[in-house]
Structures are given as C-alpha cells and as structure tokens.
Amino acid sequence: MIEILFQGLTLGGLYGMIGAGLALNFGILRVVNLAHGELITLGAFMAVGLIVVQPGLPLPLVLAGAFLGCAVLGGFIQAVFVERAMSFRDPMVAMLVTFGLAVMIRNGLIETLGADLRGLDVGGLGQAGFRFFGVSLGLLPLVTLGIALLAFAALAFLIFRTRFGREIRAVSDRPEIAALMGVRVKRVHMGVAALSAGLAALAGVLLAMRASVSPFSGVAHLLIAFEVVVLGGLGAIRGVLLAGLFLGMVQVIGARFDPNAGLLYVHMAFFVALALRAATGRLKA
C-alpha cells in the first residue's frame, strides 16, 4: 500500500510538472502550445548532452542548465514567432505556429542526434534505496517527487508573491488595462513563455532520469500534459498538481492489476473525470 502510494505520488508529481508549463502558457497567453511536448523532450536531451560534455555534473546544475537553455529558447520563440501570431484574432494561428515549431524541434533533434532512445545516467542514485515502514523504496523516485514539489512551490511563490507574478496575473485578467498601467505586456508574455519552457525542461530531465526518451516522445508527453491541464484547470497551479497526482495514482494502481495496460487507465480516468464534471455542471467553469 505504501509502495503504491509512493509510486503514485512520484509519477503524479512528474505528470503535474509535465502539465504545469502548458497550463501556464494557456492560462496566461491563451496559446495552446503544441510544441510543449517537444520542449519536454528537448529539456531531456539538453540534460543528456550536459552529462556527456561534463560527466559527473551535479544534478542541480544539470536541472539548472536544462531549465535555462529551454527558458531562453522559449522566450526567443515567443518574441520572434508566437507574439506576432497572437496579434491575429483567430487563436488557431498561434496554435498552428506552435505546431510548426514542434515539427521543427522534433526534426532538428533527429537530424542532429539521431532517433535513438536516450536516458540520463544518474549514477548510484538509480539503485539507491531506503526502508520506510518495512517497505523498500527507491531514492530516485523520492528525489523526483521532491524536485517536482519544489518546482511547484517556487512557481506558486513567483506567481502569488512577487511583482512579476502580479504582472502575470494582471496581464492574464486584462492585458489592455495592464498595458495602460504601464505593464510591459510583451515582456511579461516572454517571461511566461520562458518560464513555461523551463518547466517543460525540468519535466524532461525528470523523465529522462527514470526512463528513456527519444525525439518522438513529445507527442505522448503532450497528451499527458493536456489531460493534466484539462482536469486541473487552465492556469491553476494547485489544480494542475492535484490532477497530475490523481492521474499518477491511477496509472500505478492500474499497473498493479494489469501490468500491460500502459496509459489505458490514465486515459479512462481522464474521460470519467470529464464526464463527472460535465454531469455536475462544472464544465462551464
């Protein structure tokens, strides 16, 4: 029981991380970023690359490197491509731009690194474990969960306790009025896109620590991200974390009874939750 709970929380924290950037992007910028999955993959590959270039690099530096690399790219993409697309009234334009960017990132990865599966070598951390109430648990999942929770706490602090966070919420509420108040809306958009891409990179590193990723993994990540965001609420940080934890628990419990199910029960739970929400009228909100 403790083991299931532990594994579920770990996977759920990871799913929450996968959805966090997408939720932020859609909640604030109102842009459905179809390149989010590719940014997750790119983050994972950046971490792998850092370890190859600098073997033995401490994990916090690997995370920081991938975060910064993707954040800079995310801010650049927003400033050069997406901001312009957002000026069109039809939201489909920005969505199609991100779709194009996803194709470019995916093919760029294949072209430069090949289509092979790669994982992040975490050294002894992968095998390390500890005993908790008589149950043997891995240290790596605990580290993964800890990083995810820390990232969510930092994100909540940034959004609700800082001036930049205040500007983000104001721009999300009423961008035109925020601009009238002297808020530099495009700069806030860039910051949000950078933050979103950075969170995607963190999720990518955590994924690569526990499993292999390939340039084609982005689509699967995007699907999970959408489910987490739709369940948790667009732009709702706590909701996204809870939705991630819920889906993670479902997957672990499902795998216990049906080891070959993969993500089947996750998708089913998502549909059931949506149906329940629609039945209780919460879909409108």
């Binding site: 001036r163 205040r166 500007e167 919420r169 104001a170 999300s172 509420d173 009423r174 035109e176 009025i177 925020a178 601009a179 009238l180 108040m181 002297g182 808020v183 530099r184 809306v185």
Partner: protein
C-alpha cells in the same frame, strides 16, 4: 505641475466605420474637462484613443507638447495618461492592494499606497479582499485609485458615475476635486450632464463623432446643450 492636452483634427476608425471625424479640443492644465454627448457620440472612443487602445487614427495629440504615438498604451502611460475605464475593469485575480500596486511602476509622483488609501479610506480595510467582494461604488474607488497609482498628469474617467448611488457619486466627485487639487488634470465622461457640467471648467459635446459644442461649462445653457446634444435648433 499641471499638464495640458491638445487634440487637433483627430479622426478614428473601427474597421470601415469612422467613429471620430476631425475632432479638436484643448484641455487646460489643472482643469476638469467634461466630454458629453449621446450614446455612440464617440466619447469613449476618444478616451480609449488617448490611452493607446485604438490604433487606427489620424491627426495630432500632444501632452505638454509631446506627441502621443497611436495604439501604444504603454507609451501613453509613460507620457502620463491614465484611464478609469467604463465598467471599472479591475483585475479580478488581484487583491485590492495588488490592483493598486500594479500601476506604480509607470511614473514617479505623489500617489502611493499611503496617499491613495487616504483618498479612499474605506479601501484600507478592504485591501486584502478581491474586487468581486466589493460594492460597485467601492470598485469605482479602486478603479480611480488604480489609475492614480501610475501618477498620471491627466486622469481620464469614462462614465464615472454609471450605476452608482447618488451618495457614492458625490463621494467620487469630491475625490476628483482633491485629485485636481494635487495638480492632476481631469477629463471625464458622464451621462449625468448636469453633474459633469457643475464640476467641470470646460465642456466639449460630441455628436456622431464630431464636436458640436466647445466652451466654458459656465456658458452651457439648456438651449445650447439641446442643439449640441441632439442637433436640434430650438
């Protein structure tokens, strides 16, 4: 220091529709200037245009001799224009205090959290609440205080008394008097023409996007008003 606003030959469009035609007016420093006119006359369009919310216009607008670039709200805020929008349009996910803090980066000046809460003392106890928890009058006070937080040279108030109880309207106008006393020039739009003309030093009337009357508020009579407002000669 008080500031003057000069609008010369301004025309504006919403797509094909021409909302303002060759509008000219001058707002004297330190005064309250009332913009009046029937619904659809172009008052709110002019207010939005001044704040950079309408990109397509021609003509010239100067604030203390500096030209206003079209469609650039951030530049308008930096120049010293602030809007109290129709319907308040507060930031719903920010507390009252956060709503007031958001504008404080625009320009230096006398308005800060202390002076704003002194202007509207009722907001002191509401500062941790969200806009939805406040009455319409209190929300209007937040909207005025939020605009003042950017330390504007010119405060633009659109439909300032719309939907407010008479006692609250009196309170809002009294606050605007104090704001003007601090050197802020006020341009206001109000459907309550009598109230607006009583408080203003000058009045401009718009009809179908054109200026039909311009002059001191003291000189406005029911006859001139009827002609300017409806285009009907007595």
């Amino acid at each position: 220091m008080t500031s003057s606003l000069k609008i010369e030959g301004v025309s504006a469009w919403y797509g094909e529709f021409r909302a303002l035609s060759d509008v000219s007016l001058a707002v004297e420093p330190g005064q309250t200037h009332a913009l009046i006119g029937a619904n659809g006359a172009g008052k709110s369009t002019l207010m939005k245009l001044l704040c950079g919310l309408i990109p397509h216009w021609t003509g010239r607008i100067e604030l203390d001799g500096k030209p206003l670039p079209p469609g650039n709200p951030e530049a308008a805020a930096a120049l010293g224009l602030a809007l109290v929008p129709e319907g308040r349009l507060l930031f719903d996910s920010l507390t009252i205090e956060e709503n007031l803090l958001i504008g404080q980066s625009a320009r230096p000046g006398p308005w800060n959290m202390t002076t704003l809460l002194a202007l509207f003392p009722i907001l002191r106890e509401k500062r941790r609440q969200y806009p939805a928890q406040l009455s319409g009058g209190q929300q209007q006070m937040v909207a005025i205080a939020r605009a003042l937080a950017s330390n504007p040279a010119i405060l633009l108030c659109d439909e300032i008394s719309l939907g407010l109880a008479p006692a609250v309207v009196r309170e809002v106008y009294a606050a605007l008097d104090r704001v003007r006393a601090e050197g802020v020039t006020v341009v206001l739009v109000d459907q309550d023409i009598e109230r607006a003309c009583r408080d203003a030093a000058a009045v401009t009337c718009l009809m179908k996007g054109r200026v039909t009357h311009r002059g001191p508020a003291a000189g406005v009579t029911p006859t001139t008003l009827r002609e300017a407002y409806f285009g009907v000669r007595a």
